[in-house]
Amino acid sequence: MRMKIGKITSILLASVFFLLAANTAFAGLGISPSQMIIPNLSKGSHVERTFVLSRSDPKEDLYFKVTTEGSTKDWTTLNKGMEFTMPAGEQRFPIVVIVNIPKDIANGEYKGGIRLVSSSKSPNKIGGSGASTALSALIQTDFTITGKQVLEYEISSIKIQNIEEGSPLEVSITIINTGNVEARPTKVHVEVFDKLNKKLLESQDVTEMGSVEPFETGDIAIPVPTKLGIDQYWAKISAYRDEALLKEQSLVFEIVEVGSLQKNGDLKELLCNQKAEIGEIVKITGVFENTGQSNYSAKLVAEIFKKGKLVKLVESDLSTVNKGKTENLSAYFTPDVLGKYTVKARVAYSGGKTPEKEAKISVGNVGLLALTPTVTSVLLIFIVAIITSVVYLKKKRTTKKRL
């Protein structure tokens, strides 16, 4: 009996008790959409798509590690990097998947995935035995690469803005371009009727307009000259691809007195890499929202300072930013000297400019060793010391030989 009790005791002592660091939170995780299916890619294509990680109970930070897999493994990256944090309090967290198709890949279908594995950094310790669970999200990728040019697009909306008297009509067309070439309608027909939508007042065809890049969704702004005065009107706007009517909308708009439409804008964020190398092109992006009552053109103006002195002024192209829309305005800077730079940028738009925003760029040298002034001085002293030693030794040998 004693032996039996002893055996049981020893087994119990030898038992492994799992005392787990387990997260007791019962919080889910989702990804939307969960697939990235692109059927018409060309070699060398660049595509960016936004996905949203979401959770109903965002009470703590959630840490993500990202891995890519399958035959698309080396072509996909994330704007947030391969490790990032979804902060507490945020139910929705957009991430951008960036796809770069190699130029030397064979045509065909390639499948893979992007796996985002979450973990909580502050788990609750509880006693017990078992395992804790963690959640992960998977974006499945399916890319078809073709050698053919594919023009494929859809018009998702047609809009017209209120304008001030004397301005052209501001028509905008939103295009979802799923093809691998630039897309735009071949013709936009605009008819303007009186406020009762009965009497036709003006009619025009527009065939010259901008376009939307492959695999992107974007707006094409179409200015249409008008001689109409202050009043309410109806516009019937029809967009065609060759002779086929793609979309038609009847919309109300107003022509108002000059100066009555507010033009406001907000530079929401200034983005650029904090570290760069000499000769590297640094992209400076201003995230700008048109908070006014009409469409207008805007550009990012960035002043670059080093030790308080202005060294460069860079600007983005002039872009049309539609009312209520947010656009990324980008300018480029190539540092040619080491050091720390301060970027002070604002957005200039019709009749106004935003308050300034700042960003810092630290420029190091190419290669493993950054040639900071201190390192350069040490290197110089070292080289001089070696040369001096060599010269001294040579002289000593020559003297010895003579002797």
């Binding site: 969960s34 669970t133 959640l135 969704t217």
Partner: protein, 301 residues
């Protein structure tokens, strides 16, 4: 007879005269025909091409429109918004999977009273459930999309202008019981037919399967548990879709994500939908002691 005719003629003249006098004194009246209001510029989430839902909760979708009434914007009495899966039409009862109805409200400052201003802007915020039917590429309803229809009314029901449409993106999501508990195990023992269940709840809008993988300390370490002394190899942790399956017959957990066969949790239609996985564990014969910790990762597919 002649007398009667003269009398009638006289009465007729009096009546005519009296009518003229009354007309001079009365206020003029005219009733104006009602023109029913019409909606235009219908927009879902500011013209978004697609809608992404939020895991296990609602996502506010904002529908805006301009409503025009030729009797003046002040004549508009109500504006009704239907948001629905296009192939199922706007007609029929509301269903959180595919049809929502919401009254729109006037956007302040967009209607000037007095009759000269004919148009006003309206907005409706619709709380769309996480399990609303997806329509994007690759989903079961990829051939259709979602529409917003805006119908205004004054004294009569007006006309809905062109609907706006958007794709509902697939939301692949789940929630899982936080712990898998095995109790106390002796060395070289296993859980047998006993197991611990994890409940997998579908918190997205599409039927899901799941992948599972595990690790001791860090993803890819090939272990199921890391103990104070020693580690337990990954295959010692096992699962099955049927309760009380013997430990030996359960499927070994793997280091890389593997799809659980014969397991799916349907998209929610009425109540929440769940599935269960049953877990077992086998203790090594030696080499481990102290406390152990491990993680099982669930990935919805």
């Amino acid at each position: 007879m002649k007398k009667l005719l003269v009398l009638m003629l006289a009465l007729g003249l009096v009546a005519l005269f009296a009518q003229k006098v009354r007309a001079d004194d009365a206020a003029s009246t005219a009733s104006i025909t009602n023109v029913v209001p019409v909606s235009s510029a219908v927009s879902i989430d500011g013209g978004a091409a697609s809608i992404t839902l939020t895991e296990y909760t609602t996502k506010n979708v904002v529908v805006t429109a301009t409503v025009t009434d030729n009797n003046g914007c002040g004549d508009i009495e109500s504006v009704n918004v239907k948001f629905f899966r296009t192939d199922l039409t706007s007609t029929g009862a509301d269903d959180t999977n595919h049809r929502y109805t919401q009254a729109a409200t006037l956007v302040g400052g967009t209607c000037t009273a007095g009759g000269a201003d004919l148009s006003a802007d309206y907005t409706a915020t619709i709380a769309v459930q996480y399990y609303a039917d997806p329509t994007d590429a690759g989903s079961a309803n990829a051939a259709t999309d979602w529409s917003a229809e805006v119908t205004p009314s004054d004294e009569a029901t007006g006309t809905a202008g062109t609907n706006d449409t958007a794709e509902m993106s697939t939301l692949t999501a789940l929630n899982v019981t936080a712990l898998i508990e095995y109790g106390v195990l002796a060395l070289d023992a296993n859980t047998g037919t006993g197991d611990d269940a994890t409940t997998v709840t579908n918190t997205g809008n599409v039927s899901i399967g799941t992948q599972v993988d595990g690790y001791g300390t860090s993803n890819g370490d090939g272990k199921s548990m890391t103990c104070t002394v020693g580690t337990v190899t990954i295959g010692n942790e096992k699962y099955h879709t049927t309760a009380s399956t013997a430990y030996a017959s359960k499927t070994a957990l793997t280091d890389t994500a593997a799809t659980v066969t014969a397991f799916s949790v349907a998209q929610r239609t009425d109540g929440t939908t769940t599935g269960s996985l049953y877990w077992g564990f086998g203790m090594p014969a030696d080499g481990v002691s102290g406390t152990c910790a491990g993680t099982v990762v669930f990935t919805p597919l």
